[in-house]
C-alpha cells in the first residue's frame, strides 16, 4: 500500500502521456493530432513540476518576511525546489509557440487540400 501511495502519481502522469501519444499516432484528423501533442507536453510538464514537490513542512518557493531579514537561517528543506518551476515556465511558453506554428501549418493544408483528414490529404498528394 505504501508502494502504491508513493508511486500512483507517476502512473497517472504516464497514462496521461500515453493518451496524448495515442492521439498523435492513431488519430486521423490534424487538429486532433495537435490536441494530442498539447496533452503530451502538459503531461511532461506535470511530471517535472511534481519532482519539485517536497512532502512535510515545505512551502511555496517564496521567502517569508522573517527569513528575508536574516532573523534565522534558511533551510533548503523548508522551501520547494524552485528549479523545475523555472524550467517549466519556459517550457509552457515554448509549447504555445509550437502550437501556433502547428496550427498555421494545419490552416495552410486546409486551404490547399480543403480537408483536415490525413488519408484524404495523402490521396490528394498522390
Amino acid at each position: 500500500m505504501d508502494f502504491i501511495i508513493a508511486k500512483y502519481n507517476y502512473w497517472i502522469y504516464i497514462i496521461l502521456m500515453m493518451i496524448g501519444f495515442y492521439a498523435m499516432i492513431a488519430k486521423n484528423n490534424l487538429i486532433k493530432k495537435i490536441i494530442g501533442m498539447n496533452i503530451f507536453q502538459t503531461a511532461i510538464i506535470l511530471f517535472f513540476v511534481s519532482i519539485a514537490y517536497k512532502k512535510g513542512d515545505a512551502t511555496l518557493p517564496i521567502l517569508t518576511y522573517a527569513d528575508a531579514h536574516g532573523a534565522h537561517a534558511i533551510r533548503a528543506a523548508q522551501y520547494m525546489n524552485p528549479l523545475p518551476h523555472v524550467l517549466m515556465l519556459t517550457a509552457i511558453v515554448v509549447s504555445i509557440a509550437t502550437l501556433g506554428v502547428a496550427l498555421a501549418i494545419a490552416i495552410m493544408m486546409y486551404k490547399k487540400y480543403h480537408t483536415l483528414e490525413e488519408d484524404e490529404i495523402l490521396k490528394a498528394i498522390k
Binding site: 534558511i74 533548503a76 522551501y79 498555421a104
Partner: protein, 96 residues
C-alpha cells in the same frame, strides 16, 4: 492503424511504468533532484538578488540568458506563423 497505435502506446506505457520503479518516492525531500543545485539558489537568493520570490529571481537573474533564448524561440515562431499565413494571401491577390 487504431489497433496498432493502441498496442504501441500500451507497450511504451508499460516500459515507462517499469521505469518508475527506480524513481525516488513521490514528494521525497531527499530525492537527488532537490539535493544538488537548488539548495544553493534557496540559500543565496536573498543575499545575492534581494528578491523574495525565488522562481522569478532564478528566471530573470541567475538564468537570464535562458529567458533571452526563450524570447528568440517565440520570435522565430511568430515570424514562421506570419510567413506561413501571409504567402497564401499574396497568391490569392495575384490570381485575382
Amino acid at each position: 492503424m487504431k489497433t496498432v497505435g493502441l498496442i504501441v502506446s500500451m507497450i511504451v506505457g508499460a516500459f515507462l511504468i517499469y521505469g518508475t520503479m527506480d524513481m525516488p518516492d513521490w514528494g521525497d525531500p531527499n530525492s537527488p533532484a532537490s539535493l544538488h543545485v537548488s539548495p544553493r539558489y534557496i540559500m543565496n537568493t536573498e543575499t545575492e538578488t534581494a528578491t523574495p520570490n525565488i522562481v522569478t529571481a532564478v528566471l530573470a537573474d541567475y538564468r537570464g540568458y535562458d529567458t533571452l533564448g526563450e524570447t528568440v524561440v517565440i520570435f522565430t515562431a511568430g515570424m514562421a506563423c506570419v510567413l506561413l499565413l501571409r504567402r497564401r494571401n499574396k497568391f490569392k491577390k495575384n490570381r485575382g
